[in-house]
Symmetry: D2
Subunit: 403 residues, 4 copies
Amino acid sequence: MVDWTAGSIKDDNSALDIKLIDLSTVHYLSGPIRILDEDGIPAKPGDLVAVEICNLGPLPGDEWGYTAIFDRENGGGFLTDHFPCASKAIWYFEGIYAYSPQIPGVRFPGLTHPGIIGTAPSMELLNIWNERERDVQTNGLQSYKLCEVLHSRPLANLPSPQGCHLGKIKRDTPEWERIAREAARTIPGRENGGNCDIKNLSRGSKIYLPVFVEGANLSTGDMHFSQGDGEVSFCGAIEMSGFLELKCEIIRGGMKEYLTPMGPTPLHVNPIFEIGPVEPRFSEWLVFEGISVDESGRQHFLDASVAYKRAVLNAIDYLSKFGYSKEQMYLLLSCCPCEGRISGIVDAPNAVATLAIPTAIFDQDIRPKTNKAPLGPRLVRKPDVFKCTYDGNLPITRNPSAT
Amino acid sequence: MVDWTAGSIKDDNSALDIKLIDLSTVHYLSGPIRILDEDGIPAKPGDLVAVEICNLGPLPGDEWGYTAIFDRENGGGFLTDHFPCASKAIWYFEGIYAYSPQIPGVRFPGLTHPGIIGTAPSMELLNIWNERERDVQTNGLQSYKLCEVLHSRPLANLPSPQGCHLGKIKRDTPEWERIAREAARTIPGRENGGNCDIKNLSRGSKIYLPVFVEGANLSTGDMHFSQGDGEVSFCGAIEMSGFLELKCEIIRGGMKEYLTPMGPTPLHVNPIFEIGPVEPRFSEWLVFEGISVDESGRQHFLDASVAYKRAVLNAIDYLSKFGYSKEQMYLLLSCCPCEGRISGIVDAPNAVATLAIPTAIFDQDIRPKTNKAPLGPRLVRKPDVFKCTYDGNLPITRNPSAT
Amino acid sequence: MVDWTAGSIKDDNSALDIKLIDLSTVHYLSGPIRILDEDGIPAKPGDLVAVEICNLGPLPGDEWGYTAIFDRENGGGFLTDHFPCASKAIWYFEGIYAYSPQIPGVRFPGLTHPGIIGTAPSMELLNIWNERERDVQTNGLQSYKLCEVLHSRPLANLPSPQGCHLGKIKRDTPEWERIAREAARTIPGRENGGNCDIKNLSRGSKIYLPVFVEGANLSTGDMHFSQGDGEVSFCGAIEMSGFLELKCEIIRGGMKEYLTPMGPTPLHVNPIFEIGPVEPRFSEWLVFEGISVDESGRQHFLDASVAYKRAVLNAIDYLSKFGYSKEQMYLLLSCCPCEGRISGIVDAPNAVATLAIPTAIFDQDIRPKTNKAPLGPRLVRKPDVFKCTYDGNLPITRNPSAT
Amino acid sequence: MVDWTAGSIKDDNSALDIKLIDLSTVHYLSGPIRILDEDGIPAKPGDLVAVEICNLGPLPGDEWGYTAIFDRENGGGFLTDHFPCASKAIWYFEGIYAYSPQIPGVRFPGLTHPGIIGTAPSMELLNIWNERERDVQTNGLQSYKLCEVLHSRPLANLPSPQGCHLGKIKRDTPEWERIAREAARTIPGRENGGNCDIKNLSRGSKIYLPVFVEGANLSTGDMHFSQGDGEVSFCGAIEMSGFLELKCEIIRGGMKEYLTPMGPTPLHVNPIFEIGPVEPRFSEWLVFEGISVDESGRQHFLDASVAYKRAVLNAIDYLSKFGYSKEQMYLLLSCCPCEGRISGIVDAPNAVATLAIPTAIFDQDIRPKTNKAPLGPRLVRKPDVFKCTYDGNLPITRNPSAT
């Protein structure tokens, strides 16, 4: 499988490709795969397909990936109001480990997974999606509870002929035009799975996907060498090309047996995931907290998105004290194996979200030091000058005043 | 330490105490503790106190706790629109394990922790709190992005003389009245820590708390034998009385060195937490997903609270297929060691949240079964009749039609 | 429970108590406990008792322990030919963690457990023990395959009136004398459990013990704050006084249902253990290997004891390169959470044993460094002079030439 | 890399190939690989090579392996006196999982690793090996401490022209004959690493190997999909063909810096291993114990090999109560991710060894049941008839009398 941009982003030291990327063309996926049982009978609406991830990894000879911050005017990300400029880190893989010349002093094992895996929607489900997403885009801030700090980003990603991929349908014919205007974009995760970005879906995991059309028409892609919970910088995983081996089984009538619709139609369901026993063990975690009070000091009511934003910002600020720029840490927290948790969601008016970072990914001790029991010398490093540029021409530098 | 209600909830088979509880009196805490260094010099504003949790547990001879759903008209919870009636489960402890007669077939190790630990605010910080929380309560739905499905609950918990505890201050004097009208309620977590409900803060964890007043004036309480991320039913942990042994160190000037203000004043900070290496290992997890489309089918914009609500509802519905009522599962997911994650927060318009449940806490295999490879017989149990009542007089029964 | 020496070893800076200890008096145990079912009917021969460890820990106010090397002439240990002199390290506990002034730069979480837990033998089983152990002591090197490097230690610990504890039996009466001459010493683990020293038997573990006499007569003691596999220095765990809460259930007829005799009589059985889900997680381990070739270069045939001895010696030598004396590391590997494994036992003539040490217990990076990718500065510490003395008067010093 | 027998064992339902295999030809390895640094300068005696395992797995399209018991007269195994007949189980791989038609009801994730990895010995080291191993074979039972229960197996595997592989050396020339008579056989692990069978050497692990000849001449092979500690049945791992990606670095002078000779020459060293953070997590373990009393009731002195044999026998007997034959369980304990520990090695006269088995690999609850709290129904299965034959013509059957 190609990476989500089909090779638009290069292994070089410029973020210009990130700044100028045409996001209307993503995601490039593999599929659809028609799923049959051993007797050749296809999956049918109402079935579940149990998809086990048998093996996956980067393509041999192509063992690298990238994490990027999009420009605020072209995609943005969770913290786009704080990090408006394009930036990019290249990661190289050594077996299970990744390291980046742009973020020295960090090396971690990846929990490789597909960012996207899903079945095809039926026409009825497609209409539901298009209607509700058009509504949020149309009425936007007025009638919806939008977080202002996020509102410079597109409110939805509606069907559009621009940049559309339609397989064997001949481009610019009336049929192509019709389909392009109703086919869902793959940016958000939905009832069919899709871009769920669950970072633990690695070897041995199993995904129970609802079937909406005959054959299920499974598509997958957006391979991630590693991702942090939330994928905060949007192009936030270590994006890569890769391979994926799946084993599919059909559970006849499984939707009714295992899923419960949660909405006005029987189609309002969500897939179920089973996480396997293999993932990197970490011993110690440093945890940053955020509450649902935004950076202006304004109180939000039990808003986990605002709380998580604060937790991420707190973590970035803290880590930047150890010789890094904030851009570097924003990139790192998007792709390293950090965990984003909803810790408290009931204690009005504050939601509490936490971001837990395994301390072992750093080559220095990043924990606060008590005055009496230092746990080792802080690493003193001459400030590196990174080659990656952003916003056209500014080099990212490790803050020279940091120890 | 007493439990958060100071013994209001009884080890019996009626939920009447839950239904009628006066929530204006919670939380009952221990403290404030004045923190000095080895030379007797107190912690000062701008310092951090590093609080290590050395030991903790239930009080000997009092090894039980409770999880409850509050009535919608008296406290409610995350899913109060789905579960409006009071309910209660009693948990008994056998060493590290808890089990409940109200939720048979479940037994799990607890990750015991204090729900609340925090320092005292300065007057300046108190004013910030009171102002911003009053604002949300006053302007409420009009100017804030409130999730309607949550709005039947109180929007904030403002200072009030009703049910107020003020230590040695003589009740109903002018001084008592003045303080009661400005002292913050302990319901939400805030800049000082407080009710952060981080379920992993068990033995060996360390909490770095900012100091706002001389001596730090540490308070703690709200002991939890176990809690799930989010503590969704509000009285959602296994609430208990207990003991707590702490070791405190002062990091002089630590606020400036380690914390970064995130807001209009230097007081807009959050504590940092360090999770220790000891917690229950689980091998396999079943993961439920939610997206930010609510139960009416309405689209919300990257709203992690809505997505998490959907994930919890999906989990409850799924688990209720295994011989449980939905109330039982709502209670269970509030207090068992389940993890609530923000998986995707950038793919407009859908936030994706997940709830991961360790399969080992059940005495039956709760995974979906493929038709060809059954992993063992589903447990067939005669329907139990539980003694716990809710809404006055209805018994909770395990659904007799379930297998 | 008192520690295994009933307080003979002091929290001081001299190893004289270790050098002069009268080992004929150990172990001091608690019990016997008569086990009844809910109807008051005692456990009977042929039953199993399932003993769950509910809670345990040091005694409040007495949070310290010790690890020691016995003098070669008085007990010795696994490496007594390499470490002939008495030595002692004191450990202090901070919640789950232990640290020692004698071994600075090390701090680790303990996996607290009873070293000894067992049921009483029947007369028939006692006779089997006494006969086979007398045989090894009598015939010793001639007819048995004894490892010469171990043979300066006692070959067995036979019944003897010297230092004997017999509960309420009046000392120095004929009855006392008779019993003392046939009652088994508690040094080795046997069919009844006893001194099995399984380091993972902590909270939530369950032990299935065979019952040989009515009531089972359970005894326990020898509390360990932490132990490494093998407990190599003999007084090798962090020995402490402590408390232990057990829950016992009787499995009627369980010996026949679950255990299989492995020897000439139905009594030749061994207990079964169930390890719970709670123990310290470690991320990275450094592993030392030994093969069954002894220090003189002599080949032994698939001898796992020799191989493990080599693995431990290799680890001690390696770690002593990081600023420690070999005695310090021998003490440490006896008590820290290291794992001793039988990796290969079939590839004639070499058994392969391994010793795995979690790297996180040190405050410096103890891994070998490749020339190109240093992982951080090696900790340079001024050589400490330790106060603990051994062999009468020599101070243990950290090797000044190290680092 | 081919499997250790170069394809001699077939994916079929007969154990005849196992019974008749010519073991003089194993192991088939890949190499030697000459290791250079970035400037093209080879590794030199006295250096260490740090070999990181980047990736490994079965060969695409060849995803199967086997575990076997050798006939007592042809190789045998750790329990050859109990299991004298040849037997074989075929395992099929589904991603990280393996399952076997011969051992139904079991499925587990593999921790894939090379059984053999080592550098070439110098002539001096080769002479040391040949001398000491010849000594044990010649003098055998008389002067060595051989465990009689093991002595029907070959005492050593000395150089021999029979079945010898010598790369490009022309077969049956005088040079070939000379080399074949002095070149070490690869059965045992030795100072150079070799057949160390450390089951955790999977992705992300690093091996520090001593260099004895210029270029190091690294060889590797004997790929295992999974192995239990001890690899007890000798052909005990899940043996397979596979691929292996390594990254090598040279640590100049590393032998002196990191290894300590343990014997009469500087060559008496052992490699060091670093285990990575990725391996299957298991939550609960059932642990079987053995003491150094053999099956005849005879006492051995602190003999960990005898103790481990007892532990394995106890586990086999216990597990066979759940519907399996003992041969099936002997095969399973050779290859599943079980841990063999040396728990006590100092309490004369009994060594205590333990074998810990993760309970999750079975599709039924294998724990002992207390009478009052059953954890679920025991799986009742109609007795399967397995197709694999042993000793010429006897089918292995699951014991029909077992439940």
